[in-house]
Subunit: 343 residues, 3 copies
């Protein structure tokens, strides 16, 4: 437990209230009790503020007046909440060593402070640095390098020759370095193009559960530092993702796409291959990008759901939109002629 | 093998025909032979009825007249078919015990009637109840609880602190309890929000291959009883899915969405975060829900494919639809003025 | 290393230049150095040709004039590039035998030239043919058969009773033979339909990382020869995919769909269930097919992203498209009446 004073100091918030009150955890406004710190950053939950029983609430200046309990005011309440949660939920000390059931190739270099969990496989030529945690059931392919403090949670597959930076977190079921989908037509048959590039993953990257990052065909697939990738994201061969870009669940990025820095790609969006997206681009959910984007901004091609009956009527019209546009042109011309005659 | 009489009685169907005929399995109408029971529930396959060589056919009243062989008439022929299949394909008796290659932490409580398969990991503080089957290659994280008769087929990952109900089936590659995608902006960098909630999965839930269910940030992600989840579905942190809801393959549900009871969400649909969908809502395939839904019914935003040439012409017009609407307004006004002048 | 002469002969290209020059690898035009062979097949990268420092470039006739270095001219430069890459990157000789930590059921038949990797499980009744490679962490379910030269890279799950052909490659995290999503309504509850069919995978098929192929309900799910499946593809129960069809990442195909031969389905497209798509159909990315397709050709229903402000204006109009069409009809009728009166 921490005092509100300690918490305020750590998260950089201004406390109004008794600095000696002890708190145990961060909790949502509606569930927080007298030993909890609540928080308000999404206005969607503002209605819960007046009823909160929290010991204190992390919030922005604008909401202070409506808060019935002590406040921890921050310019960035969401970040302050995140820091408070981290502070009140310290990571458990990790084990170190190699579990007796792990299969480690001779010649793999494993730092003494790293942990290789049960039933994991570490192939030849692997270098595992200080403080790395390889959870249960992981496969670390030949020649792979894993940087300081990186965690593979469980059942992660790193194929051969993948380079992972420091403080990376890779969630269960993720596959890094699988072959790209490279095929050449040979008559009606397909000829597989060997995928001989690698994957380079920068520092502080996070890769979600069951996401996949293919190796490059000839050069490397590159994920720059602090890129954040949610679950079930597919990143194809030769992609290059710029630093600080965040990619939400179920996004697919086709081969050789280059995404800039500080972009956000919302859930289930798709990016076509062989195109560049500049820095600071934001793609909304379920949108499809098929042309290069050279200007920062928000881009969309998604359609919000409507009652099916109404939707179907509009879609039926959509399939005749070109004809409709032509009819409008005819009307405009006829009307122009009429108006000319009348004037 | 069973007699048609036994089968009719078990599945609650009315038999017209020889009750002593023996049948071995259920098969499709077009493939069924003289030891098989056929079935007809989808009208798409009605054309196969008159040619069937099945011993008998499960069907609804309306199709009886066209059936050349004995009939098993049911008000719900699809359910009757399902029951017949279950009856003719009884589950094999499961093994019990702990395979010699499984890694089980001391202190894990495992019922004597449960089975822990080869090369699975059961971490500390786990409680596994009667008749549970943990297939090969699974990871069961610390503090997890698995209810009576639940099956993890193979290579399933349950992260720490997940609570799974009774008679749940989790298919290979599924990941339950991975960290949610919680990030706060700290300048241009991301600050990871610790995900300290859990996941609660009700009784009779099924979760498909390579699906992912993230743990809650502070509270729990909740999947109520009898929810059915297909393959490659992504359910983000803090979601709450109501009982008897079915979610088809490739659906993505963003964080803190609340889905009602008895909903169906068809394949590859997307649900935005922080919204409520009421009971008895049906979302059609590939639709995107971005606003709360408060009325039961069918909702859509999908577009059916057309020949590309036609499609492209309509899309080109779509990108000028606002201008087109303005032009229509101008035409309407000009015409109104004209008509007024003429009257 | 190979001489340009040897390379030209092997890949069926016409060399213009010194046949004795030695090359080491294939590389992209912009990165190729004096020991590398470059290639040009995608016109997107033509701008790099004049600056290349490659020893030689594989290209088509049309580009020869712009190439500053020796040329390897091919009618199909992409195929020639693929063959060159394969030639210069020969597969390493595979190990053979059974790793000491693999768990192999007695009675499984494993060819002496096959390899069963560490921490893999091979269940009873399995037949593994010559030269098969089962990588680390795989599960090969009871009664499965794996044809000559097939590779399961790592952490692959084959459920029971799956038949895999020769020279198939299955990438990490893929799940073959999981239960289909078969449910019958029983009041408000779901009744699971046992999935008792199998999966048949033809020769020369490739299945990407974290893709899923469900077993059939009664008959088999069938993937014909030389079908190529990218990552995170979902193929539901009872599907039948014709030979030489290629399916890109994140595609979902619903149950009982039949896809023809030589089709291509681009990324994140969706195919509804219980429909037939004929041979030689090409579905563009993120399109949704809900009706049978009986004519070869290109089909689409995707919408390219635009700046959000412009997009939202057009979508707002779209939701009134039916009304707009009716208004246009009114205008047309009024105008026709006017024009009639004027004439």
């Amino acid at each position: 437990m921490l005092t509100l004073g300690e918490l305020a100091s750590h998260i950089g918030a201004v406390l109004s209230g008794d600095a000696t009150i002890l708190v145990r955890r961060v909790m949502t406004l509606s569930k927080a009790g007298p030993e909890d710190v609540g928080f308000l950053s999404n206005p969607h939950y503002r209605r819960h503020l007046v009823h909160t029983r929290a010991a204190a609430v992390i919030l922005g200046t604008a909401d202070v007046a409506y808060c019935p309990v002590p406040t921890l005011v921050s310019e960035n309440p969401y970040l302050a909440f995140a820091k408070a949660t981290a502070l009140l939920n310290p990571m458990e000390p990790a084990p170190r060593g190699i579990h007796a059931t792990a299969v480690v190739a001779s010649g793999a270099e494993i730092d003494a402070s790293a942990w290789i969990g049960p039933l994991s496989v570490v192939e030849s030529g692997v270098r595992i640095h200080a403080g790395v945690i390889v959870g249960p059931g992981c496969v670390v392919g030949a020649g792979t390098s894993i940087g300081t403090g990186t965690q593979l949670i469980a059942n992660v597959t790193l194929c051969h020759g993948v380079q992972v930076g420091d403080r990376v977190v890779i969630h269960p079921g993720a596959v890094i370095g699988s072959d790209g989908f490279g095929l050449a037509k040979d008559g009606e048959r397909w000829f597989k193009i060997p995928q001989v590039g690698g994957v380079i993953i920068g520092n502080d990257v996070e890769i979600g559960a069951n996401s996949t990052v293919d190796r490059g065909t000839l050069e490397d697939t590159v994920i720059e530092e602090d890129v954040r990738i949610d679950n079930q994201v597919q990143i194809a061969h030769n992609c290059h993702i710029g630093a600080h870009t965040a990619i939400a669940g179920c996004v697919g990025i086709a081969g050789s796409a280059r995404i800039g820095r500080r972009c956000t790609i919302a859930g289930a969006a798709g990016i076509a291959g062989h195109l560049d997206i500049c820095d600071d681009v934001h793609i909304t959910a379920m949108s499809m990008v098929v042309q290069p984007i050279t200007e920062p901004g928000v881009y969309s091609s998604n359609l919000p759901a409507k009652p099916n009956r109404q939707w179907r009527r509009n879609v039926a019209r959509f399939h005749h939109l070109d004809a409709m546009a032509r009819r409008l042109q005819v009307v405009e011309q006829q009307l122009a002629t009429l108006l000319k005659g009348n004037s």
